[in-house]
């Protein structure tokens, strides 16, 4: 157990008050040598003497007693008992806390924060281990991989395979690959469910209101249908910019208009998501850790140039995307333009726009849940 901190606190208060030991001892009615022992935590103190000293120092007696810092002491003791601090000098813990209260509070605070975060990580880890859906999905995926690996090994290492058998093996690889894709998609949807279900639109309300004001629903919907949802034509018709048109197009389906549902993401150059409208098969990470291969990020390299792309997610679903990066406000001389990039997207089989004359670019959702191998853009390991 640590010694009481009371003596250390008395010494601190006495020093701050500019009193000598002799003076305080005299005022409190005790000997200087006894006060010296108290101040070095070698004698306990309570009752009348404590009250007397507190009165002479002009502080409440409770601020001198060890109860005042019991939480601090407990936290420091806990910190000292962890495996990472085997050589912490617990015998001078009271002295440390008394002489360096600020550092002691900081250490205790960091320790408590670390302890709480470890508890959260343990809870999440526990969930990963015991979650039945995850366990089933991983079992299924590993079984698919086992079948594909074993069959592929046979096909590449055994030469004298009967034609009928070879056909069955080829069919097995095709079948298992499809199942693996489906399982991967299901897992990705599962991971992103919380982020997409009921996720608030992060755009400020006044922006939505201004869009509604400049592009009234009925007129905008009829013009959009007549123009095959052509954003450039709509921007021209409603004298607004493409980002505003993108936002309005992405909201049409929810407002009851018979239009294809379009997803939308708007980010700044730091990758922060400013506006998001996810689609069931195209979830959008909420905290700026999206796939860097998305056209929305390519938009920053070609500001103000409208880009149309065809992308393919790991599950094989293809999306047509329209992207453009625009300055957030009017460009002024001497100022660097502050660009935001917006990407409007929808499944390629529902696209009202002309087909993109290029092969689909293979992208992911977020590195952490992306199964793509040998990706030059990968920034962190996948949990898959």
């Amino acid at each position: 157990m640590p010694h009481s901190l009371t003596g250390t606190r008395i010494r601190q208060h006495r020093s701050r008050a500019g009193l000598s030991q002799t003076a305080l001892a005299r005022q409190a009615g005790i000997s200087t040598s006894y006060l010296n022992l108290i101040e070095h935590n070698k004698r306990g103190i309570a009752g009348k003497i404590l009250l007397s000293i507190a009165r002479e120092l002009g502080v409440p007696a409770s601020s001198l007693t060890e109860e005042a810092d019991s939480e601090l002491t407990t936290s420091l003791l806990e910190a000292a008992s962890t495996e990472t601090a085997p050589s912490a000098e617990t015998s001078v813990l009271a002295e440390f806390a008394g002489r360096f209260p600020g550092w002691a509070q900081l250490l205790a605070s960091v320790y408590r924060q670390n302890r709480d975060q470890e508890a959260v990580i343990a809870a999440l880890s526990d969930r990963l281990v015991h979650d039945p859906f995850l366990a089933e999905s991983l079992h299924l995926m590993l079984s698919n991989i086992t079948a594909i690996r074993s069959t592929a090994e046979i096909l590449t290492s055994v030469e004298d395979i009967a034609a009928e058998q070879r056909t069955r093996f080829n069919a097995a690889i095709h079948d298992e690959s499809k199942r693996l894709s489906d399982a991967t998609q299901a897992l990705i949807r599962y991971f992103d469910k919380e982020a997409t279900q009921g996720a608030p639109n992060e755009a400020p309300d006044e922006v939505a209101e201004s869009d509604v004001a400049s592009m009234p629903l009925e007129r905008f919907a009829s013009t959009a249908l007549a123009s095959d949802f052509n954003p450039s034509a709509l921007a021209s018709e409603f004298r607004t910019n493409l980002h505003a048109v993108f936002r309005r197009l992405a909201s049409l389906k929810n407002e009851g208009v018979d239009a294809p549902e379009m997803g939308l993401i708007i980010t700044n150059a730091a990758g922060q998501t400013l506006h998001r409208h996810a689609l069931p098969d195209f979830p959008l990470p909420r905290h700026g850790n999206a796939c860097p291969l998305w056209p929305v990020f390519q938009g920053f390299s070609q500001p103000e140039r409208p880009l149309q792309d065809l992308i393919e997610l790991p599950g094989g679903t293809q999306f047509v995307t329209l992207t453009v990066a625009l300055p957030r406000s009017e460009i002024a001389f001497g100022d660097s333009p502050n660009y935001q990039s917006a990407m409007l997207f929808l499944p390629s089989d529902q696209s009202p726009w002309s087909p993109v004359p290029q092969p689909a670019r293979r992208v992911g959702i977020s590195c952490r849940i992306c199964p793509r191998e040998n990706c030059a853009a990968r920034s962190e390991e996948t949990v898959l």
């Binding site: 590993l142 079984s143 690996r149 074993s150 046979i154 290492s157 055994v158």
Partner: protein, 119 residues
């Protein structure tokens, strides 16, 4: 006389590739997809080795393993699982599994293990 191996596994494509491999290696191979039918097949066929998956329909591989342990002349068991967790391994070892292998495995790896277990 060739050694007899029973594969108890619910994934038909894994059965197909394993059967092909083991058959080429000179073993007699049978298979069963249903966990509930596994013991019946084991009693009927009296295989020398059972390749047993953990997650089976109707009855888990661990349940089957417990029953195998009660047979008068129990075959050796190579337990396969997609879950490489220590908990599974511990459970299998407590019941008394002969060997344990985690999916996905290489063909050479499982073939070598089977040959080692049957010699």
């Amino acid at each position: 006389m060739s050694k007899h191996i029973l594969i108890v596994e619910d994934e038909p494509n894994i059965i197909e590739s394993l059967s092909f491999l083991l058959d080429r290696a000179g073993f007699t191979v049978s298979s069963e997809k249903n966990g509930a039918m596994a013991m019946e097949r084991i009693r009927d066929l009296t295989p020398d080795l059972v390749i047993l998956d953990v997650m089976l329909p109707n009855r888990s591989g661990f349940d089957v393993l417990r029953d195998i342990g009660e047979l008068a002349e129990a075959p050796r068991v190579l337990m396969l699982t997609a879950k490489g967790q220590a908990r599974d391994r511990q459970t299998a070892e407590e019941i008394g599994v002969t060997r344990f292998m985690t999916k996905p495995f290489a063909n050479a790896e499982i073939l070598a293990t089977v040959q080692e277990m049957l010699t």
